[in-house]
């Protein structure tokens, strides 16, 4: 059944595109930091800004990326906006790299030393 086979392949390709979009959203140190902060608990934007060491507009752009990929939810309370992880499973994706680090700490240290 070649038709069915082709359909399956297209579906798998779409899934890979979907995965790639999510990994792309994770492919930035500031966005990783944001997600790690949200992994613990909901946070207001101003609280995030205190931790982030980037300009307000830049942080807002990164939050927009996370929103556009549907990785976070927002809640408005008066003047402020609170962000949270849309799905706690995302925390697991972030955590999944931990084992990899342990196996490749030397490389991580090279990055730390700027020898990369």
């Amino acid at each position: 059944m070649p038709y069915r086979k082709k359909k399956d392949t297209e579906a798998q390709e779409s899934l890979r595109i979907f995965k790639a979009r999510i990994f792309q959203a994770l492919a930035n140190p500031t966005r990783i930091q944001i997600l790690e902060l949200l992994k613990e608990k909901e946070r207001g934007v101003s609280e995030l800004l205190e931790c982030l060491n980037v300009e307000q507009s830049n942080a807002s752009q990164h939050l927009a990326v996370l929103r556009s990929k549907n990785l976070v939810s927002t809640r408005k309370e008066g003047n402020q906006v609170f962000y949270s992880l849309r799905d706690p499973v995302l925390g697991k994706v972030l955590d999944s790299l931990k084992d990899f680090f342990q196996a490749h700490l030397e490389e991580a240290f090279e990055v730390l030393r700027g020898l990369d």
Copy 2:
């Protein structure tokens, strides 16, 4: 001890940069497909090419990205080059998204339908 605190922050920032580099390597459908193929077993480049539906030079470029991020190992045998996952833990990183998909299948289908 503010000095210690600053050091920790720098190390954490370096770790986030390291993580981001790996997620960046995963942020492409063709590279995901390559890694999924390698997750099963070692593969020669020509075998990969048969599966990939991209030009040879393009595939080779994606393999170069995976090499530059140290995600794969290579082994030469005569005329051919065989690739394998450098660390099976990487397979877990790819798999970690599965739960996310199950929770967000609708979005995946939107991508499938091209409504994105």
